[in-house]
Structures are given as C-alpha cells and as structure tokens.
Amino acid sequence: MTEETLLKVDHLKTFFRTKTGILPAVNGVSFALKRGEILGVVGESGCGKSVMSMSILKLIEKYGGKVQPGSSVVLEGKQLLDLPEKKMCDLRGKEIAMISQDPMTSLNPVFTVERQMVETICRHTDMNKIQAREHALSWLKKVGIPETEKRMKEYPHQLSGGMCQRVIIAMALSCEPKVLIADEPTTALDVTIQAQILDLLRKLRDEVNAAIILVTHDMGVVAGMADNIMVMYAGKCVERGTKHQVFKQSLHPYTQGLLASVPRMDRQEDKLYAIPGNVPDLTQKHEGCIFRDRCNQCVGKCAQAAPPQFLVESGQSVRCWLYEDKAVEVCDE
C-alpha cells in the first residue's frame, strides 16, 4: 500500500440558501485520504456528512446546495471543482463511486438488476453488453449473492434490503473506483446483515484497493472498520485522528460525549448518556464556539471566539480551546 495521497479535500464549504438565511451545511472541512485507507466520518444527523459526500461528487448543486469558491477537492492532482460537468460525469462511478444509505430505494424499481448493472459497466468501460453482463455476474458472485443468474433478472422489489445493498456495492465496485463513498451503508439494515455488509466492504477494499469514506453515525461501525476517524459537528471537523487515538483518548468534549453515549456491556447503567441539547440552527450567526451550549467543559474563551483547529503532539487535531496550550501547530480554517 503506497502512502501517497489519493484524495485531498481542503476548506470545503457548501451552503444552501433557505428562507431563513444562508445555511452553511459544510463549513470548512479538510482531510486527506490515502490509497486503501478507510476514513470514518462520524457525527449526528444534520452535521453535514451527506452534504460533504455529495459535494465531493459535485452533485450537491442538483439539490440546491452551492460549493463556495476557495474550496478544493483534488483527486490524484486533478482539481474536481474546476472540472467541467461532462468530465465530472465521466468520473462519477468510475473513479469515485457511492453507496447510499437506503438500499431499498436506491435501485430503480422499474429496471432489472441486470439492466442497472450493465448500464453502469457499459458507461465506464469499453465492454459490450455481453461482456458487461459476464462482468456483472462475476461481481454479484463476489458480493455473495446466491443464484446470481436468477437474481440478475429480478427487480429490486423482489430482493431483500441486504440483497439490494449487495447489488449496490457490486454496482459501485464493478468499475473499480479509487474512492468509494459509503454514506451510512448499514443504517437501514438489521444488525446481522450490517456485519456481513461491513465485512464485505473490507474484503473488497483489499481486492480493489479503493479508499473508503465511511460516513456513519454509528460509533460501532467505525470502530470495526476505520483506519482514521473524522468527527464532524455543525459542518465542521471537530476532531481528527487515528482510530485508536479517537477511541482511546478522545480530546474534543463532543467526541467524548459521543463515545459516552454508546451503550456498554461491561458496565451496569440505568440510563444511557446523551449529549444535552440539539444541533444548533446553522442559519443563525453564532458567537464563539458552536458547541458551547451543549459542552460540559466550557471555559471563558469559548464564548468569545470560535476555536481554530489545533494540532497536538500525538498527531490528532482538535477544534477546542482546551487544547490551546498543548498545540504544536494551529491550522486556521
């Protein structure tokens, strides 16, 4: 596995114009992804995870969002945000593929599995229909679909949720993308299927050597899968580090809160911990740290200014004033 950077996202800002004002859904997110790496992106609903994925694919404009100038998404030296739509369209599914959160609604109900898979393969390769069909068949076998020949001819409503997700994974990987964005791939599935799907993703990652951006709100999923973790809150990255760093010694009070709210088998607790309050309304202007209202470790400075990203010695970076003294570098975003 080479150490070179595959995808580099810098100062990504995406906003929506709403009736109540401008909503900065993604507000300056930066990260780098290496070949074969699995990056877990964690955060509660509405923190901008999905908008971030759609912005990387440059699809957010179709859904009313706008990527602010100054943002940068570079894939192998190519600036995606400057790419014309035609080129970007060729790249989607070929170099960056996506798996979405609800497998049951992500396949077109009026076309067979075969048609949807062949269509994708033909779009991005030189294969003819017959070759594409063989290719699709081999991928459906790889994702563990039994009776592939029969399943190929079926419609999405004839498949279970887990089967649908397998088809979607097969479809996404059939063109051997370099980056796979998995937007909550297991949220809609029951737990036994979840584990199978995650296993499958890990196995296929090794086979295709694709980097995976695993977007989820499930700490358990990232714990099992990710190499590195990025915690997002209100459109910003609040903490970033390796999996072990984030789980063993999380720095940001928000991350600590998230981890504390995971149910534990080894402790007897009557009530599950929950971070108080709700995600703030992003259309309103906020003074100071945006997490301040919900934070249990607030200091005086929190009310005055929004904290920048502090890089601490261990290599972790955190957006919190508590670590100002320990910072070796301040990356202002």
Partner: protein, 315 residues
C-alpha cells in the same frame, strides 16, 4: 397474467350489457317520441298509433330492449328513424372524422404536455416552468369553445390563414393538405385544454421522482443527465401520466360535441346531438355501444400498460 387478462375481458361483458340497458331505459323515458317527428298534418290519431305499432314502440320497454339485444346478436343495429339508413352506416360515416381529429389531439397534447412538463420539472422556476404553468392554467381554466372562437376570430376572420370550419373545402378538393388546414384550429383548441392537465401531471410526477434516492444514485453512477431524466426518472413518472391520459380518452372517443359543432366537423359529437333531438333511439344506442366498448378497451389497455411500466404491479 394471462388469467388476469382473461378475467378482465370476461368482466367487460356484464358491464357492457348493463351499460346498454341503462341507456336504453333512460333514453326511452325521456319525453317525446320518434313518431313526433314523423307526424304530418294529414295523419289521424289511428295513423299515429299504427306508426307506433309498426315501429314496435307500443310494447313494454323491456320487450323493446330484448328485441334490440336479439338483433344486436344477429349483428343488426337497426335503422335510423331519422335517415332510414342502417345505424352501422350512419355511425361508420362519422367515426372516421372523429377518430382523425381526436387521435391527432391525443398525440399532440401528450407530446406537447409531457415535453413541457418534463422541461418545467427539470428547471423549476425557470422561464420554461413559468410558460408551462401559464399554458396549463389557460388550458384548464378557459373552456374549449372560447379558445376556439378566439382562434377563429384571429386566424380565420382577421388573418384569413385558415378555414373557419368543415373538414374539406369542397367535395372535389379532398386532399390531405386540405384536411390538415381544416384540422389546425380544432386540434389547437382541444389540445390546449387537455395538455394543460398533462403538463401539470407530468411536472408534479417528475418533481416527485427526481427527489428519489435512485435518481441520486443514477447520477452518482455517472449516467448522463439526459439518461437520468428520460430513462430513469420519466419511466417512473409515467404511471400517473398514463392514468391521466387514460381518463381523458373516454371524453375524446365520443368526439367533442361542442368543438365539433363550432367547427362544423362531421363527427360523432354532431351525430349524437342530432340523434338525441330526433329521439333516434337506434342511433343513440349505436353511439352508446361504440363509446362503451371504447372506454372498456381503454381501461383494459391502461391496466396492461401499468403492468408493462411497473414490474411491481405484474405479480
């Protein structure tokens, strides 16, 4: 599936019979009798009774109905009281013009309505959307006869580009281009009204489908926007559009009574009005039968079309 189709076809038989019975009794209950139109000053009361007896009108209605049914199964629809021609011949003469006009209207309004609806849904709040909403508003709020009169005033009376009515200029000049010229105005007046509906249906169906997850996935797969819209989205939006089209077909097969009257179009609508005025029962029954069959067949066709369009309905 085959069983389902067979069942649907078998069910059409009692519906058809029920329909004919209903219309037969209702039209016989209306005041007035076909004999009224045949009375001459020289005729006495006995002569009128004699005439009624000859036409079988003195028998109870249900006997008349069964006699009509009996003749129907022998392939005989009877003779028109008004023209004395076989009903088949009278209707046959009118079906052609009505079908030419209404099928043209159907094709034009579907193409126009669906295209504009898709365009409006793809670019919401754009100029196309405004145009589409405006046209569908005009189409569905203005009665066809008003649009027809406005069109006649401008294009026939003022500009003298197109004829005011009829199907051909004269019996001798019955060329295709002449027919086309006569069809422009009635087609526009009728299409505007029905495409208004299609525009609205298509727009809302497309907008709904375009918010679906599979459309997002189709885009994320790198499919071209054209393919996403016309293959993935439109195919799913077709269902409500087909329903809408199916519901407007019955109104069209009978011919538009008002539009045909305004443009003097020699179609079924005009014949229907004439037959009702003359209490021409055999012709009324003939027209009813034709419309009933057309509606039943359209419904069957729509159901089959649903199954073709949506695999979820198939089983």
């Amino acid at each position: 599936m085959k069983k389902y189709i067979l069942k649907r076809i078998l069910i059409m038989i009692p519906v058809f019979l029920g329909m004919t019975a209903l219309v037969f009794f209702l039209s016989n209950m209306t005041p007035g009798s076909p004999v009224d139109a045949m009375i001459t000053p020289e005729m006495g009361v006995e002569d009128v009774e004699q005439l009624r007896h000859e036409m079988g009108l003195d028998q109870p209605i249900y006997v008349q109905y069964f006699k009509w049914l009996e003749r129907l199964f022998q392939g005989n629809l009877g003779y028109s009281y008004r023209t004395s021609n076989p009903v088949i011949k009278d209707i046959g003469e009118r079906i052609g013009p009505t079908l030419i006009l209404t099928l043209t209207v159907l094709v034009v309004s579907i193409l126009f309505g669906v295209a504009l609806g898709v365009l409006a849904a793809c670019k919401p709040y754009s100029i196309w959307d405004t145009l589409a909403s405006g046209l569908s508003f005009i189409g569905s709020s203005m009665p066809g006869f008003f649009i027809a009169l406005v069109l006649i005033y401008f294009f026939s009376v003022k500009l003298r580009w197109l004829p005011t009515g009829g199907m051909y200029t004269s019996v001798t000049s019955n060329s295709f281009s002449d027919l086309m010229r006569h069809m422009v105005l009635p087609t526009i007046s009728m299409s505007l009204a029905s495409s208004g509906n299609y525009i609205r249906q298509t727009r809302s169906a497309m907008l709904e489908v375009m918010g679906e997850e599979y459309v997002k996935m189709a885009r994320a797969k790198g499919l071209r926007e054209r393919v996403v819209l016309y293959v993935h989205a439109l195919r799913n939006a077709m269902l409500p559009i087909v329903t809408c089209i199916g519901m407007s077909v019955p109104g069209l097969v009978g011919g538009s009574i008002i539009i045909e009257q305004i443009f003097g179009w020699p179609g079924m609508g005009t014949l229907m009005v004439l037959s009702v005025t003359y209490r021409d029962y055999p012709v009324i029954m003939g027209i009813t039968m034709y419309i009933t069959i057309a509606v039943l067949l359209t419904n069957l066709l729509m159901d089959l079309l649903y199954a073709v369009l949506d695999p979820r309905i198939r089983n």
